[in-house]
């Protein structure tokens, strides 16, 4: 028999949030948007720097890489995902998310595919370029292609599992 302690906890936040005053959701939205607008340029610059850091790390990446070698890329990609919404880099964010999925798979022991790594890195870098003149539809196709690479890796693993069994 496992002893389970249960406590009824009512967050103080619930009481505070109902105090008179405060703001409406509409007012909050307007203020947050204005504040984030001020950060747009710095977020874009930070995303660019993050891509540059990934490119530097990629030059020194051992072949094949160990999970710990890939972890910094995962963290940096995740940063780009976080910055993308504010920095007007939606496609770069989606590409970075696709990259996260691949990196997570490799760190969990999936077979390493350098070409998939490099195509993701190149795509993220391209989509973060300030002079990237691609139309949104072309950007969509790039991201769809990256998603296809991730799906291919998934089905490749399924096939390997099938062979194993």
């Amino acid at each position: 028999m496992i002893a389970v302690l249960k406590r009824r906890v009512r967050p103080r936040l619930a009481k505070l949030a109902r105090l008179p005053g405060g703001k409406t959701v509409g007012a909050i939205q307007a203020e947050v948007e204005a504040r984030l607008e001020h950060l747009r340029d710095s977020c874009f610059a930070e995303a660019r720097q993050t891509v540059a850091r990934m490119s530097e790390l990629a030059v020194r990446l051992p072949e094949p890489p160990a999970p710990d070698d890939l972890r910094p890329f995962y963290i940096l990609c995740s940063e780009i995902v976080g910055l993308a919404g504010v920095a007007d880099l939606a496609h770069a964010g989606r590409a970075a998310l696709s990259f996260c999925r691949l990196l997570d798979g490799w760190m969990s022991g999936k077979p390493w595919r350098p070409a998939s790594f490099h195509v993701h890195l190149t795509a993220v870098a391209l989509l973060c370029r300030p002079d990237c003149a691609l139309e949104p539809s072309a950007r969509d196709r790039i991201v769809d292609g990256l998603d296809g690479v991730v799906r291919h890796h998934g089905s490749e693993l399924q096939a390997l599992r099938h062979v194993d069994t």
Binding site: K6, A14, A17, G22, V32, G85, G93
Partner: protein
Amino acid sequence: MPGAEFKLDKDDRINLEQATVMLLEVPKPGTDLLAQVFYGYGVRQPVRWHEVDKALAFAQSGEPLDLIVCDADVDGQAYDFIRRLRASDAEPNRFCPVIVLSGHTPRSQVARARDCGANFVVTKPLSPLVLLERIFWVCADRRTFVELPGYAGPDRRFQFVGPPRGATGRRSGDNATADEADGPNLSQDEIDDFMCSPPARAAS
């Protein structure tokens, strides 16, 4: 889907001026997104940390916190932070609602957040409105805080999802499929469905 059931109206009102909110975030000079979002919500002075140990020491120092928002990538130990906080004797902060922000959210990652005691997971890129909705959810969250060997945090049994991983189950309808380690990214609605049932409307 819970996300579809609970949406904020523009006229809903919330007062976070007196709330003490701790942000545990990845340091990025000049891009304090999370802090700016909370200033916009009306929080006077969010407490900000970039290191898990310092954040934990602050949480244990005695100042009551009303909400903790934690970036999953912070210091590489965000989940460890939540687990240590929940297991500590720092009252009342060990009961404090914790929202995790994560970019990559496969089911395994969301399960990890849930199993270390997080209340909610919100996907990045951050939508200030979605995060605000989840703060309303926190205010209305009626789950009990449970403590058992290996887990302390909000009660995870809010819906029947079959037997534990690896178990075959005793009912004919039980489905014992284990979570894929790296399945597709869950949407915000799927995450909500996995973490917690929706509250009744809490907005005034």
